[in-house]
C-alpha cells in the first residue's frame, strides 16, 4: 500500500517536473509580447533622456553636486561611471545611452543594446535620486529581466537580418547561436516568469495600498492630486476631470480596478482582455493628465506582456494589411523617382559629360 502510494507520488512529481521542463526548455513563449515590451521600455528610456537632454547638466551633471548626500547612500555600482565627470564626458555617455536605447527599440543587436541601455540608464538617472521617479525602478527592473529574454525575435532589425541569412542558407548569427537552443529558451522563459510576476505583484500591491483608503472607495481620490500645481500641466483638462463627478470617479475606479484585480483577471482569457484594455486606457490618460508619459509607457510595456502571441499575430496582420497600400504606393513612387533619376542621367548628365569629353578635353 505504502509502496504504491510512494510510487504514485514519485510519478506525480516526475510528471510535474516533466511538464515544467517542457514549458521551460521547449520553446520560447510570448516572443511577440517580449518584443512589444522591448520597444515600449526602450522608448521610455529614450523619451526620458531626450526630454531632459537640454538640462542634463543641471539634472545629473555638475549642477547636481548638491545631491551628493543622496547619491552617497545609493548602492548602484553603475553610478561610478559618471562620478564627478566633466560636462563633455556626461554628454558622451548620455548620447551613448540614448543611441543604445534607440538600437534597443529598433532591435539592432538588441542584446548588446540592452546591456548598454541598462547600465547607462542607471548611471544617468541614479545620479540624482532626489528627483527620481518610482517609474525609474520599473524601467530598471524590466531592462534587467529583459537581459535574460530574447526580445528581438520579432519586429526588429535582428529578426530581419536573421531571415535574410537563413534564406541565403547561412547561420542565423554567432551572437544568437552562442547558447544551446534549450538553454536560450529556458533563460527566456525564466525571465518571462520573473517579469510577469513582478508586474502582477507591483500592480496588486499598488491596488491593495489604495483600496483601504476612503477616498479611493468613494471615487474621489484623484481630486486632490489634480489640484496640485505640479500635477496639472494642462489646467483645463485637470479642471474638467476634477469638476465632473462621473469622469473623476471613472478615472479613479479605473486606476484602482486595473491594479487591484490585475492578477486575478489575467487568469481568464476574456477578463484578461478586459483588464489589459482598461490598464492601457488608464495609463494613456495618466500619461497626459499628470504628464507622466515615460513611466506610463514603461507600465504599458509590461502590461502588454500578457497579450497572447496569437493576438499579436492578428494585430500584425491587421497592421500589415492596412499598411499595404501605403507601402505599395511608397515603393511605386520610389520606382517613379528612380525612373526620373534615370531620365535626368540620360538626358542631362551624360550629354554634358560627353560634351565636356569631346569638346573641352578633346578625347
Amino acid at each position: 500500500m505504502m509502496t504504491t502510494l510512494w510510487r504514485g507520488l514519485v510519478g506525480s512529481v516526475q510528471g510535474l517536473r516533466a511538464g515544467i521542463d517542457d514549458w521551460l526548455v521547449g520553446t520560447r513563449h510570448a516572443v511577440r509580447a517580449a518584443a512589444v515590451c522591448r520597444i515600449a521600455t526602450g522608448l521610455a528610456v529614450l523619451g526620458l533622456l531626450a526630454s531632459n537632454f537640454s538640462t542634463r547638466d543641471m539634472w545629473v551633471g555638475q549642477g547636481s553636486v548638491w545631491a551628493e548626500p543622496a547619491r552617497a547612500i545609493s548602492s548602484f555600482p553603475e553610478l561610478t561611471l559618471l562620478d564627478g565627470v566633466s560636462s563633455d564626458v556626461l554628454a558622451l555617455l548620455y548620447v551613448v545611452t540614448m543611441l543604445a536605447a534607440l538600437a534597443f527599440v529598433l532591435g539592432w543587436h538588441a542584446k548588446a543594446a540592452n546591456v548598454v541601455t541598462f547600465i547607462g540608464f542607471i548611471a544617468v538617472v541614479g545620479q540624482n535620486p532626489v528627483v527620481g521617479s518610482p517609474g525609474d525602478n520599473l524601467v530598471r527592473l524590466t531592462l534587467l529581466w529583459l537581459l535574460l529574454m530574447r526580445a528581438s525575435d520579432h519586429w526588429s532589425l535582428d529578426a530581419a537580418r536573421r531571415s535574410r541569412r537563413l534564406a541565403a542558407g547561412k547561420e542565423a548569427s554567432r551572437e544568437e547561436d552562442a547558447l544551446p537552443t534549450w538553454l536560450s529558451a529556458g533563460l527566456h522563459n525564466v525571465g518571462l516568469v520573473a517579469l510577469g510576476a513582478q508586474t502582477v505583484l507591483a500592480a496588486m500591491a499598488a491596488g491593495l495600498d489604495k483600496v483601504a483608503d476612503r477616498s479611493w472607495q468613494q471615487g474621489t481620490a484623484l481630486y486632490s492630486t489634480l489640484q496640485l500645481p505640479e500635477s496639472r500641466p494642462f489646467p483645463a483638462l485637470s479642471d474638467l476631470l476634477a469638476d465632473h463627478r462621473v469622469l473623476l470617479a471613472l478615472l479613479t475606479y479605473g486606476v484602482l480596478l486595473s491594479q487591484l484585480f490585475f492578477g486575478p483577471l489575467l487568469l481568464n482569457r476574456y477578463t484578461r482582455r478586459l483588464v489589459i484594455v482598461l490598464a492601457v486606457v488608464v495609463n494613456v490618460l495618466l500619461a497626459v493628465v499628470f504628464a507622466q508619459p515615460w513611466s506610463a509607457l514603461s507600465t504599458l510595456g509590461v502590461t502588454l506582456l500578457f497579450v497572447s502571441d496569437r493576438t499579436w499575430e492578428r494585430v500584425e496582420d491587421v497592421v500589415l494589411g492596412a499598411a499595404q497600400p501605403v507601402t505599395d504606393w511608397t515603393v511605386e513612387r520610389g520606382y517613379d523617382v528612380l525612373d526620373g533619376v534615370d531620365v535626368v542621367r540620360y538626358n542631362v548628365v551624360l550629354p554634358v559629360v560627353d560634351w565636356v569629353r569631346f569638346t573641352i578635353l578633346r578625347r
Binding site: A18, G63, V130, L141, L201, A206, D209, S215, Y223, P229
Partner: protein, 252 residues
C-alpha cells in the same frame, strides 16, 4: 505509444537543472518581493521587515508606487533668499524671498514631458518637511535655533542629545546640506552679479488641498502656505562648472 520514463529523460537536455535552478531562484525572489509589498501580516512579521529590506532595498528597490498614480494632498514650496555683500565693500543686505517651486510650476505648464530639473525645489521641500516631521519636538527647537556658525559636526550630537531617532537626524542633516548647497548655487546665479553671496536661507511651505466636499467653496489658492524658515546657512561656493550650470539654468 507514450514514451517510457527512460526515453522521455533522454529527449530532454541533460543540464536542464540549470534552468530549473534559475526558476527556483526567481520564484523565491518573487515570494520575497510579494512579502515586501504585502500589507503587514503575521507571515511578513515572521520573516522580518529588516531582513526583507536588506534583500529588496539595495538593488531591487520596489515600492507600492511603481505603477500608476497615488493620492497626493499636500502642496509644498521651497523659497530661497541670500545675504549679499557688495563687492565694493560696505554693509550687505538680504534679498527678497524667491519661491523656486512657483517658477518651476510655471515652466512645467503645458509640458507633456516636464524636465526633471524643474522638480528639484519641490522634492527638496517634500523631503525637508518629512525630515522635520521625523524629528522630535525638542529636536525641532534645536533646528529653529541653528545659525550659519553651527557646523554639521557639532549639530549632530546636539540633535541626537535632544532625543529622537539617529536615522531621523542623519536624514535631516543630509537634506539640510542638500538644500543649503542648492540654495547657495541658485543664489549665486540669481544675485551673484550684485555682490558676494555670504549666507543663504531657505524656507519650506506646506498647505493641504481642501477636501472634495468643500470644492464648491474653497480652492487650493484660498489656502495659505504654512511656512517654516530654516536659519541662515553659510554659502556653499561649488565648482566653477556647477556655478556655470546654475547660471545658464536660472537665467534661461
Amino acid at each position: 505509444m507514450p514514451p517510457t520514463p527512460v526515453e522521455d529523460a533522454v529527449e530532454r537536455p541533460r543540464h536542464r537543472w540549470i534552468v530549473e535552478l534559475l526558476l527556483v531562484v526567481v520564484l523565491v525572489h518573487s515570494v520575497a518581493l510579494a512579502l515586501w509589498l504585502a500589507p503587514s501580516s503575521p507571515i511578513r512579521d515572521a520573516v522580518g521587515e529588516g531582513r526583507l529590506a536588506s534583500y529588496v532595498d539595495p538593488y531591487f528597490q520596489q515600492g507600492r508606487d511603481v505603477v500608476g498614480i497615488g493620492t497626493q494632498q499636500v502642496d509644498e514650496s521651497f523659497s530661497v533668499r541670500a545675504y549679499v555683500a557688495p563687492d565694493a565693500g560696505g554693509k550687505g543686505a538680504a534679498t527678497e524671498w524667491v519661491d523656486v517651486t512657483r517658477d518651476d510650476n510655471r515652466a512645467n505648464r503645458h509640458e507633456l514631458a516636464p524636465e526633471r530639473a524643474h522638480l528639484i525645489a519641490r522634492r527638496l521641500a517634500t523631503n525637508l518637511n518629512l525630515a522635520m516631521f521625523n524629528l522630535s519636538e525638542a529636536q525641532r527647537r534645536v533646528v529653529r535655533g541653528l545659525t550659519a556658525d553651527d557646523l554639521p559636526s557639532t549639530v549632530r550630537p546636539t540633535l541626537e542629545g535632544a532625543g529622537g531617532r539617529p536615522e531621523a537626524v542623519r536624514f535631516f542633516q543630509a537634506y539640510d546640506q542638500m538644500a543649503t548647497q542648492f540654495a547657495s548655487l541658485y543664489a549665486e546665479a540669481r544675485w551673484g552679479e550684485g555682490g558676494r553671496i555670504v549666507q543663504v536661507q531657505f524656507r519650506v511651505g506646506r498647505r493641504t488641498v481642501p477636501s472634495y466636499a468643500d470644492r464648491a467653496t474653497t480652492s487650493l489658492d484660498d489656502v495659505a502656505f504654512r511656512d517654516f524658515s530654516f536659519g541662515w546657512r553659510r554659502a556653499f561656493r561649488g565648482s566653477l562648472d556647477a556655478r556655470d550650470t546654475f547660471d545658464s539654468y536660472v537665467k534661461k
